[in-house]
C-alpha cells in the first residue's frame, strides 16, 4: 500500500485546511500596517520562496535577493490585493520565478558549484551513502530544463496542486502534467545509472 508520502507536501497541504488565518485576511491586515500579520505571512511563505529560488539559481545570496525582492513587491501589492482572486502562494512563486529568470538571463547559466565533489563511479561508495544519493538527485535535477524543474519543485517539494502550479507557471493543468511527466522520466533515466538499486532497476 502507499507509503506515507512526501512529508513536506503532506504538511503543507494539511496546513492549508487547519483553520489558520487565510492569506487574504493577513494581507488586508498588512494593508492596515499590522506588523504581526506581516510576520505570519513571512513565516508562512518566505521559506518556500527562498528554497525555490535556490533551486533555480543555485546561489544562496542570489536566492535570498530574489526572496527579498519578492516580498518587497508584496508590500507594494498588499493595499490593492483582491481577496478571492489569485492565491498569494501562486502569486509569490510567479514573481520569484520571473525574478529568477531575469537573473539567469542577466548572468549566463551559473556553474553547478554548490554541489561538492560529485562522486565518480570509482569512489562513490567510499563516501556516505546518503550524501551520494543527495548529490546524485541534485545533479539530476540540475539537468532539467527550468520549467520542468520548477514543476517538480512546486508539486513535489512545495506541495502545490496541479491548479496552483499551473497558475504559478501561467500554463494549463495539462501542461503541468506534461512537464511533470517529462521531468520524472528524465530523472528516472538519469538516476537509474547512478542509483539503479534504489529505483528497482
Amino acid at each position: 500500500m502507499p507509503r506515507d508520502g512526501n512529508l513536506f507536501g503532506q504538511l503543507r497541504r494539511r496546513s492549508e485546511t487547519d483553520g489558520r488565518e487565510s492569506d487574504d485576511s493577513l494581507l488586508s491586515r498588512v494593508a492596515r500596517d499590522e506588523s504581526a500579520a506581516w510576520a505570519v505571512l513571512v513565516d508562512r511563505h518566505l521559506g518556500p520562496v527562498t528554497r525555490y529560488a535556490n533551486w533555480i539559481l543555485r546561489d544562496n545570496a542570489a536566492a535570498e535577493d530574489v526572496a527579498q525582492e519578492t516580498f518587497f513587491r508584496l508590500t507594494k501589492k498588499a493595499s490593492e490585493w483582491e481577496p478571492g482572486g489569485a492565491s498569494l502562494k501562486t502569486w509569490l512563486f510567479r514573481v520569484a520565478r520571473n525574478l529568477c529568470i531575469d537573473r539567469k538571463r542577466a548572468k549566463t547559466a551559473l556553474p553547478i558549484d554548490t554541489i561538492e565533489d560529485t562522486p565518480d563511479s570509482d569512489n562513490a561508495f567510499e563516501v556516505d551513502r546518503r550524501i551520494d544519493i543527495e548529490k546524485a538527485v541534485q545533479l539530476s535535477l540540475e539537468k532539467l530544463p527550468e520549467r520542468q524543474k520548477t514543476a517538480i519543485i512546486l508539486v513535489h517539494f512545495e506541495g502545490f496542486s496541479g491548479n496552483e502550479a499551473a497558475k504559478a507557471l501561467d500554463i494549463s493543468v495539462e501542461a503541468v502534467e506534461s512537464l511533470l511527466a517529462r521531468a520524472r522520466k528524465a530523472l528516472r533515466i538519469d538516476l537509474s545509472g547512478a542509483l539503479p538499486d534504489l529505483l528497482g532497476e
Binding site: 508520502g5 512526501n6 513571512v42 535556490n54 527579498q68 493543468v173 511533470l180 520524472r184
Partner: protein
C-alpha cells in the same frame, strides 16, 4: 479518465508519471479512480512501487534552512509596530500634541493648583506694603514630559504692575504648543475679588 471511477493500467502509468506515488499530491478528480485501481491491480501496484522509489529519492534532497538574517531583512520591509511608525510618519506638531494629551494634563492641573496657592498667598499678603506688592513674583512650574525626554515645560507666572501672564516656553523646532495661553488682567483690587483662576482650556 477525469472524474470517473475507472482507470486503466496505462492511464494509471501516465498518472503516476506525472504525479508520483504520493497520494496527497494526486489531483482530487482522479485520485479515487487511481486508488481503486491500485487496490485491485497487481500491475498497478508494481507501477506504484516504482514511482514511490523515485519519490523517495526526491525526498532525499536536503531542504536549505532559512537564514535569520534574511527573515530579519524581509520583516523590516513590512509594517512596523505602530509606536515606531507613528514617530516616523507624523508631524512634530502632531507628536507634541500627543505628548501633551498624555502627559501635560497632570502638569497643567498641578500648575492650576500652584496658581491657586499663589493667589491665596498673595491674598494673604494683601496687607503688606505697596513696595512688596509691586515686586514681581514669579511662580515656575516644571513638569517633565516623559522619563525618556529631558524636555520640560515651564509655566511662569509673572506678576507685573497690572497684568499677569502665563506663558509656555517653546519646545524647540518652532513648535507652538496648543496651550490657550492666558493673559488676564488682575485688577489691583484682586484682594477684594479674589484670585481669578486661569482658563486652562488646552484642547
Amino acid at each position: 479518465m477525469a472524474g470517473t471511477n475507472d482507470m486503466t493500467v496505462d492511464e494509471f502509468r501516465d498518472f503516476l508519471n506525472s504525479w508520483g506515488a504520493n497520494q496527497d499530491l494526486w489531483p482530487v478528480e482522479n485520485a479515487p479512480a487511481a486508488a481503486n485501481l491500485l487496490v485491485r491491480s497487481v500491475e498497478a501496484q508494481a507501477l506504484f512501487k516504482a514511482a514511490a522509489a523515485l519519490d523517495a529519492l526526491l525526498e532525499a534532497v536536503p531542504q536549505p534552512e532559512l537564514s535569520d538574517s534574511l527573515r530579519n531583512r524581509v520583516m523590516a520591509l513590512g509594517p512596523q509596530d505602530r509606536k515606531v511608525s507613528t514617530i516616523g510618519t507624523t508631524s512634530l506638531t502632531e507628536r507634541m500634541t500627543a505628548f501633551f494629551g498624555a502627559l501635560m494634563r497632570p502638569a497643567i492641573a498641578g500648575a492650576a493648583v500652584a496658581g491657586i496657592a499663589v493667589g491665596i498667598g498673595i491674598s494673604t499678603l494683601g496687607g503688606l506694603s505697596g513696595l512688596e506688592r509691586e515686586a514681581p513674583q514669579t511662580v515656575a512650574v516644571t513638569a517633565p514630559i516623559s522619563t525618556a525626554s529631558p524636555t520640560t515645560v515651564t509655566a511662569e507666572a509673572s506678576e507685573t504692575e497690572n497684568s499677569q501672564t502665563l506663558f509656555a516656553d517653546s519646545l524647540g523646532g518652532g513648535y507652538t504648543p496648543n496651550l490657550a495661553v492666558f493673559s488676564e488682567t488682575v485688577s489691583d483690587d484682586r484682594q477684594d475679588s479674589g484670585f481669578q483662576q486661569a482658563n486652562f482650556a488646552l484642547y
